[in-house]
């Protein structure tokens, strides 16, 4: 059968229809309304202002179901990431799961194996914690000779949320962990059934079975309806779409803890089970790609966090590391949470090399890139937490510093 090609007139009509629906969908694409005319009617679920454009940046990947998308840290304010801008890392796409049908099984070395519905889990006592979540591979590009051009692409696989859920220790007590159990094998319900081995000690210390994020059910891309939260540990261990916890006497050496998420050292040995995310900070303003358009006083600001506890202090240099001054920290400083730092800074058209370094409550000091590479070489991929230097030029433009 011969295909009928649309006429030019039909194409124009289609174009007009598409354009019209786009306009309707985007609420007049950022055109201010007459303030004395009645505004929009009330709606059931809010959208942000059409003038706001901050979006995640997605790194190119071989398949659309895999890869990472980065939080726009340069556009962030405060210390909680909007759920819609939380960084993502996916291995086989985002499943759509009906919470009425979802089940979590607890099995293996337990006295009472359990199969729980979401309603069962929601009956249990819950806790709420504000926590940082960082991908183990955040800033991986910084190991190389070309460091990230802006803060989103170089440090954006980190986000902060309020998580609500059930302490895993409580559920394990319900199941009755047997004395020789020492590991928990966590599996997710994405297509690839992402799996990680978690030491039982961590599960009993502070792991959460989370269903809430920032006051509502977590987003599908964050593991809806249920995910594991391991405070302070690399993102990959926080298994999303959680559907199985198996108590065992050994780690299962999953692909994502041997082939991936292990840290190769210069001697050819790889560190395994490198869970903790160490103290880290980065200046988000002024940062790469931004421009200081006028001379005068600015608020220099950024984010600091540590997987090992509270941020104790953040020091800022404006002279490439010769001198450091303490930035003000936003209180309350919560353990294992994004901590906003701020410092008034006058830009008078003089070039400056600016950077921040975080110190956590264990007195761990965020290292320089050089110190990290001296200890670990450049092939470990994961757990980069070096100091990030931005170059503010005399004309007010800000760039990264080539290594």
């Amino acid at each position: 059968m011969k295909q009928r090609r649309p006429s030019r007139r039909q194409l124009l009509q289609i174009g007009a229809a598409v354009g019209g629906s786009l306009l309707a969908g985007q609420k007049a694409s950022a055109v201010e309304t007459d303030p004395r005319k009645l505004g929009d009617p009330l709606g059931p679920y809010s959208e942000r202002s059409p003038f706001e454009k901050a979006v995640r940046w997605r790194r190119e990947s071989k398949t659309p179901e895999t890869g990472s998308s980065f939080t726009p840290l340069h556009d962030s304010v405060g210390s909680v990431t909007p759920s819609a801008l939380h960084y993502e890392r996916h291995h086989s796409g985002i499943p759509t799961i009906d919470p009425e049908r979802h089940r979590l099984i607890v099995h293996g070395l337990v006295d009472r194996p359990l199969s729980l519905s979401m309603a069962d889990i929601r009956r249990l006592p819950s806790v709420t914690r504000i926590l940082v979540l960082e991908c183990g591979g955040n800033s991986a590009g910084e190991w190389g000779s070309t460091t990230g051009a802006d803060v989103q692409r170089s440090y954006g696989l980190v986000s902060g949320s309020e998580w609500t859920g059930v302490p895993l220790s409580l559920l394990l007590a319900e199941a009755g962990v047997q004395p020789h159990a020492s590991w928990v094998i966590a599996e997710g319900a994405d297509a690839c059934r992402m799996m990680r081995s978690i030491p039982l000690a961590k599960a009993l210390e502070n792991s959460l079975l989370a269903y809430g994020q920032n006051g509502e059910a977590m987003r599908p891309s964050q593991g809806y309806p249920l995910r594991l939260i391991n405070p302070g540990w690399e993102g990959n261990t926080n298994v999303k779409w959680l559907h199985s916890l198996k108590l065992t006497d050994q780690p299962y050496m999953a692909r994502d803890e041997t082939s991936k998420y292990s840290d190769l050292m210069p001697d050819g040995k790889a560190r395994i089970f490198t869970y903790a995310m160490e103290a880290k900070s980065v200046i988000t303003f002024p940062s790469g790609g931004q421009t200081l358009r006028v001379h005068g006083l600015y608020e220099l600001t950024g984010l600091a966090w540590s997987g090992r506890g509270r941020i104790e202090r953040v020091e800022v240099t404006i002279d490439g590391g010769r001198t450091w001054v303490q930035a003000a920290l936003q209180e309350p400083r919560l353990p294992i949470a994004l901590t906003r730092f701020r410092l008034p800074w006058r830009f008078d058209g003089h070039a400056a090399l600016i950077a921040s370094r975080a110190v956590d409550e264990t007195e761990y000091v965020q290292p320089t890139r050089e110190a990290l590479i001296a200890a670990r070489g450049t092939n470990s991929i994961y757990h980069y937490n070096g100091i990030k230097v931005w170059s503010v030029r005399a004309d007010g433009t800000v760039t990264h510093v080539e290594a």
């Binding site: 099984i105 099995h107 199969s115 007590a173 690839c192 790889a270 490198t274 092939n379």
Partner: protein, 179 residues
């Protein structure tokens, strides 16, 4: 000392709370355990019945794996699966099943749970054993006449079995005056 006391206290608290208080849920069905929790341990715990030869694996690989991983595992859209032995301590390490993966059971577990990429769960256990046998053979780890099953697979000694070390962090010396 205070740390030790705290740990003991925590352990006591954990053990004393082992009786169920909330009576939630029900025992999982065998189907649920099979479907949701099929992870394979490095000692072979969880491996199902069935077996696969290198020859059978060549056919499975050609039909299901080669379009992404290349006809002989040289890599394309999918990861490279062969080669790289001896490169881990060089400036350009090549991490493959043959050069890097410490356990053959991981290969079975990962193919079973996650492959083929666009149709995970497609392969039956004998096909998974066969694909594993073929990839191990491609890497020169097992001979062409070997059969992989729940007994033989965990006994395969991967070249990089001893290549992993515990996390020594914090590992960076403190420096007060960088640069």
């Amino acid at each position: 000392m205070w740390k030790l006391s705290a740990i003991l206290l925590a352990a006591t608290a954990t053990l004393s709370a082992q009786s169920p208080r909330y009576q939630v849920g029900r025992p999982p069905t065998p189907e649920e355990i099979r479907e949701l929790g099929s992870a394979i341990a490095p000692d072979g715990t969880g491996l199902p019945a069935g077996s696969g030869t290198v020859a059978a694996g060549r056919e499975v690989f050609a039909a299901q794996c080669a379009r992404c991983h290349g006809p002989t595992g040289e890599g394309d859209v999918g990861a490279r699966l062969v080669g790289g032995q001896g490169t881990l301590a060089t400036p350009r390490p090549l991490k493959t099943v043959g050069s890097f993966w410490p356990y053959a059971t991981t290969l079975w577990d990962y193919i079973n749970r996650a492959m083929p990429f666009d149709r995970p769960g497609l392969l039956q256990p004998p096909e998974v054993y066969a694909a594993v046998a073929y990839v191990l053979n491609l890497n020169g780890i097992i001979e062409s006449d070997r059969v992989m099953d729940a007994t033989s697979l965990p006994k395969v000694k991967m070249p990089n079995r001893e290549g992993f070390v515990a996390d020594p962090r914090p590992d960076i010396p403190k420096e007060r005056r960088p640069r």
